[in-house]
Amino acid sequence: MFHDQPDIAPAPAKALFAAAEAAMRAIPPAFPLDATVAVNPFLGQTGEDLAQAAARLARVAGVRLTRNRADYAAMIATGEITASDLAAALAACPHPGKPAHGTALTALAHQDQPTPQALPTIADLAARATGTDWPAIIRRCLGLWAAGHFDRGQALWTPAPGSSAFAAWREWATHDLTPELAGLTGFCRHVANCPDTPGRALLRAAAALDLTAEAAETAFHRLLTDLGGWAQHARWLQWQAELAGDGDGTLADLLAIRLVWEEALLAHVPAVAPAWAEVLAAHAQPVTPDADLVADTILQQAAEMAYQRGLDTVLGGADTATSGDRPLLQAAFCIDVRSEPFRRALENQDTGIGTLGFAGFFGLPVEHRPAASDLTEARLPVLLPPRLRSSVPLPPAQDRQRRIATRSARALGRFRQAAVSSFAFVESAGPLYALKLLRDTLGLGRAHGTDPAPAFTPALSVDVKAATAAQVLKAMSLTKGHARLVLLIGHGATLHNNPHHSAYHCGACGGHPGDVSARLLAGLLNDPETRAGLPAHGIDLPADTLFLAGLHDTVTDRVTLYADSAGRDHEADIRRARDWLDRAGRQVRLERAARLPGASAASLSARARNWAEIRPEWGLAGCAAFVAAPRAVTACGNLKGRAFLHSYDWRADRDFATLELILTAPVVVASWISLQYYGSAVAPTLFGGGDKLIHNVTAGIGVVEGNGGTLRTGLPWQAVHDGERLAHAPLRLSVLVEAPRHAIAEVLARHEEVRALFDNGWLTLFALERGRITARWHRGSGWDEAGLARAA
């Protein structure tokens, strides 16, 4: 947002600000890599469908939002996509320019689609006119400035804090001689003379560029995509500010900065004016997909329908009524797709084992302060603001000791980094690095101790304890039939030397491992005060039920159990559970190793310790479905680690409050994950994190490729591609919910933004009845039974 936007402005200025606002909303936020979570890269385009978004992003970024036609043609040839899939996808397409019939569509699948070209910026036009690579120079200059401005402590000498991005950049750019050396004489003066607030700078540049309100939105969007990850980082700052009920002007600053460049280049190369006028005319045209883009999206939809067809046969219907026997063990896992194989394997160990799925923060929106740390971690889905606080209750002496240790290490680090002392460091400590090299190359010495159990700070009152516990148990559909031992298993990944480490952790825990949330909930549910208050909320927990937290390491498939408050009575139960978990882990490792290039079940643990490993595991690659239903619906099929499984029993959900929660929170988070993988796989240049081989960690927040330049966000190529083929089949998520259709429709009616995801095809919604797909959601018409393409 532009903080300096005047309250009373002439209409054209207002329209320009509105266009800028819209362009900024079109940019997805990128979370810094210390705690990164998946973000829907099409967050700004959920109000339109894939074809429309494809047309928009083709214009502003020159990317395609679907796979190569050859991929679809191959799927048609192998019969993976059938003629009926094509026909159904064609019929469902609302665009007028679609192929007349299935044969025409198939023919198109065999033609190469044209590569879209982004509309040029003035920098592009100036490069063509002068032969000087202005876009690259801008990336380089802005990249160097932005890396310093957003630096969280990587460089020892960062710019003075406290300035807005625009003010800081003006200060920088009036001194930076690089543009002048590259030939843009007078740029420092140009910057010094430009208005000192972003809004006025934008208006002045817009006037110089002849930007009209009609052309401005995509023209601004074009410039913002040019800034790549820096714009997305600024959008994240805005996201965080808005979550706290505030605003942030950094993204507006970046737009203004980029416009100042355009203004200067137009003045430098006035000859591009006629070409620029044509570009503006193109920007002023409404965004509409052409026939090729429409055909691409129909083919993509056909591929999704093919998957959905298979899904229906896997589910195959089930009796969702629960049996009367008390289970031997219950284990709640995160809905993360990596839990599905593990749950399947664990259930295989004994018929008395039941598993359920729930978002890995276990319903506790906590801001957690780790031991000996001033930094807090928001261990909750990024859609929510934290409402509870927790910390690790270390004895003060121990806390101080740890802080001294980290501070000494930091002092040595600064000694290593600082100008003159770096020479002394190398000559005195350099030879020690031979040992470090040996240790790291052989993957030795990595054991970490376990912290004491976290606790709520301040402690919860008796009433809040019971109310929170009851709320979570209801949301988990875990209100009756408890086993003697109930495991609450979060997940995290052990890996080393990977800038994207947090991307492998639990998204529902804000890119952190799930141990803290699981241990907090286990502690809460075992608390006698909680137990005493639960009956008042209609939940009767057996006195002999023990909740035990655990952490599933998704690289090694080992589960650590935290026997924080376990008594003697449960020793045998815990021993048996550990045994089952070990055996399940072995089974999962076999299954997972088959998917990872060069891996064997035995080598997975070594991957976690290997500092050179760039494919430690596949993360959520492959994710394609979300099922909210009792486990019985999915228990008999193999979903191959591609499905988010959320336990949900609508019969126990009287006012459908849990259904509303599922559709508005976990489903949205899952859609972000699925679409991030989708975007990183189909448009890696715009939404992918680049090549891990040349990643250069920058500013403590992200990576650039090679020497510097634009921050790269999204998933690295190696996270979606195994070297030979995509490891993630880009499919938009299919959401299957076992609940009365009217109840689902009512929830959607109340939540416009969630409904838009379904209406515009970013997600596909199916209603289940007794484990069979019975209806599909369509924009406008709502539930449709006839349109189901059921396998014959």
Binding site: G131, D133, L177, L181, A411, S422, V426, E427, L432, E705
Partner: protein, 513 residues
């Protein structure tokens, strides 16, 4: 022939095998590559062991004309081979599934073999072509992503500077041939040791210094080194830990010749010292981990050249080895930078030492230095003024560590820990230097007797380094002052030397492809 001289041949043979499968997932090639690198390490260790047990006392211990085994080889070759093994092993995992995986392994083995050849070369007839070949192979590695314009730009700069260094070397070789009628390094060294340099040899020494400056990325042509992050991480590790050493090694190999040229020595002190301070300052402002590491290499190589210029040859060799190990680890583990930054932020703000604390820190460091210097003088004999000057530079660095512990806000336990660390650093520094001097024996010349020129250079060096050290200790008090903002911009841009070079070679132009 020592066993270590077989290492290059083994590596080059394995490279040839790797070339048979240049593509993705080349079956056994990565395994063969690591096995060969390990074998090369074993051979180099065997060579070093032979030198340690038999070599001393054979008057420098050289073996035949083409390869040579002396203390320098015995130390440098195993270090390079060790880093080579670590890097090749890393690449085995890291490069898995890349399009030109086999080609990558072939090039890495090739460049490693050539570096080991260059390290052991006993004759310029072998050394100079080996260096030129390293340039050719490294260029291919820098162009591993040939579609990236910055990669092509970096490769162009590298080839220009490295090639210029090769030309200087060829001319130097020619002049040495004129002067001494030989290309054998030991013969040239012996001649330079005994008699004043003839004019041709004087010119050769100057050209050698020039070649070393070019090949160690010294100011003002350092730009190529700060841009080579366009190649995969293992290339950076090997380049910064192995290949970049060749310039310094060249000087150390021909130390007697170089030291006989006071002009060359003065150039090394001035350009090396300036590069060291310049690179270290720029490094402070870099927010990208590999870029900061590259600037650090520029600085460290400058410092090593300064040590050569002061005649502290064994110390320069120690610096090369220590820096190689440190920098290889730093590059290979650079993916952990996100966590590292987070870890530094956890314990809260850094305690800033005030002016008083800084003065006390320098006093303490000086006391520590005096004690250590006296102690080591008693143990290992008197020190040259050059060595004492270098020690002063170290002390001003250690003062920074002490100052952090003396900051008012720092708890007592932290003060104690930093003092212990400072003592350990000082002792380790003097201990390692004494070891290096002892190991070098008579192979490398002692520092020249300080005349007026030497004293002036020593004074200049000590004042400038100590000045920067004081500024660095007081850094938080001025770094964010508005008056420093403009300076920071120029420093972050490396004073635009790279941009100027870009302009000269057309690096700003669009590339027609």
């Amino acid at each position: 022939m020592p066993l270590s001289s077989l290492a290059p041949a083994v590596l080059l043979a394995a490279a040839a095998i790797a070339l048979l499968r240049p593509g993705r997932r080349p079956q056994l090639i990565p395994l063969i590559a690591e096995g060969t690198a390990l074998a090369a390490l074993a051979l180099c260790l065997a060579g070093a062991a032979r030198f340690a047990f038999l070599g001393v006392g054979q008057g420098g211990g050289h073996d035949g004309s083409l390869v040579r085994l002396d203390v320098v080889t015995a130390l440098v070759a195993p270090t390079v081979a060790f880093i080579g093994w670590v890097v090749v092993r890393y690449s085995r995992t890291y490069m898995d599934g890349t399009t030109r995986e086999g080609w990558f392994h072939a090039l890495m083995l090739m460049v490693l073999g050539l570096v080991l050849l260059q390290v052991q070369a006993g004759s310029l007839a072998l050394l100079v072509p080996a260096l030129a070949a390293i340039g050719l192979v490294l260029r291919q590695l820098l162009l591993f992503f040939p579609d990236r314009a910055p990669a092509r730009r970096a490769a162009t700069k590298f080839t220009l500077v490295w090639g210029a260094g090769d030309v200087a070397l060829i001319m130097a070789t020619g002049l040495l041939w004129l002067a001494y009628g030989t290309m054998d390094i030991a013969t040239i060294e012996a001649a330079a040791r005994l008699a004043p340099l003839p004019p041709a040899a004087e010119g050769a020494a100057g050209l050698l210094v020039l070649a070393a400056l070019l090949k160690t990325a010294a100011f003002p042509l350092h730009g190529w080194l700060t841009e080579v992050m366009e190649a995969p991480t293992p290339v950076s590790a090997l380049l910064h830990a192995g290949i970049i050493n060749s310039g310094g090694l060249l000087l150390i190999r021909l130390a007697w010749l170089v030291q006989a040229s006071p002009g060359g020595m003065a150039a090394l002190v001035m350009l090396g010292g300036f590069t060291a301070l310049f690179g270290a300052l720029v490094m402070l402002t870099q927010s990208a981990v590999k870029t900061a590491l590259a600037w650090s290499t520029v600085a460290q190589m400058g410092f090593m050249l300064l040590q050569c210029g002061l005649g502290l040859w064994p110390v320069a060799m120690l610096h090369l080895l220590a820096h190689s190990l440190y920098k290889a680890h730093a590059f290979l583990s650079s993916g952990g930078a996100i966590r590292a930054v987070q870890a530094t932020r956890r314990p809260g703000p850094v305690a800033t030492p005030g002016v008083g604390a800084v003065i006390r820190a320098f006093g303490l460091a000086l006391a520590l230095y005096s004690l250590a210097a006296v102690g080591f003088t008693l143990l290992a004999g008197p020190k040259s003024p050059q060595a004492l000057a270098l020690g002063l530079i170290l002390v001003s660095g250690v003062a920074y560590l002490v100052a952090q512990g003396l900051a008012d806000a720092a708890p007592r336990a932290l003060t104690q820990r930093t003092l212990v660390a400072s003592t350990a650093v000082t002792l380790s520094y003097f201990g390692l230097q004494a070891l290096a001097v002892h190991a070098a024996g008579g192979t490398l010349p002692a520092p020249p007797v300080a005349g007026a020129l030497e004293w002036a250079l020593i004074g200049l060096t000590v004042t400038s380094f100590c000045g920067v050290a004081v500024a660095q200790a007081l850094f938080p008090h001025w770094a964010h002052h508005p008056a420093a903002a403009g300076l920071r911009v120029h420093i972050a841009n490396g004073f635009y030397l790279n941009a100027a070079l870009d302009r000269l070679i057309g690096g700003f132009r669009t590339v027609r492809s």
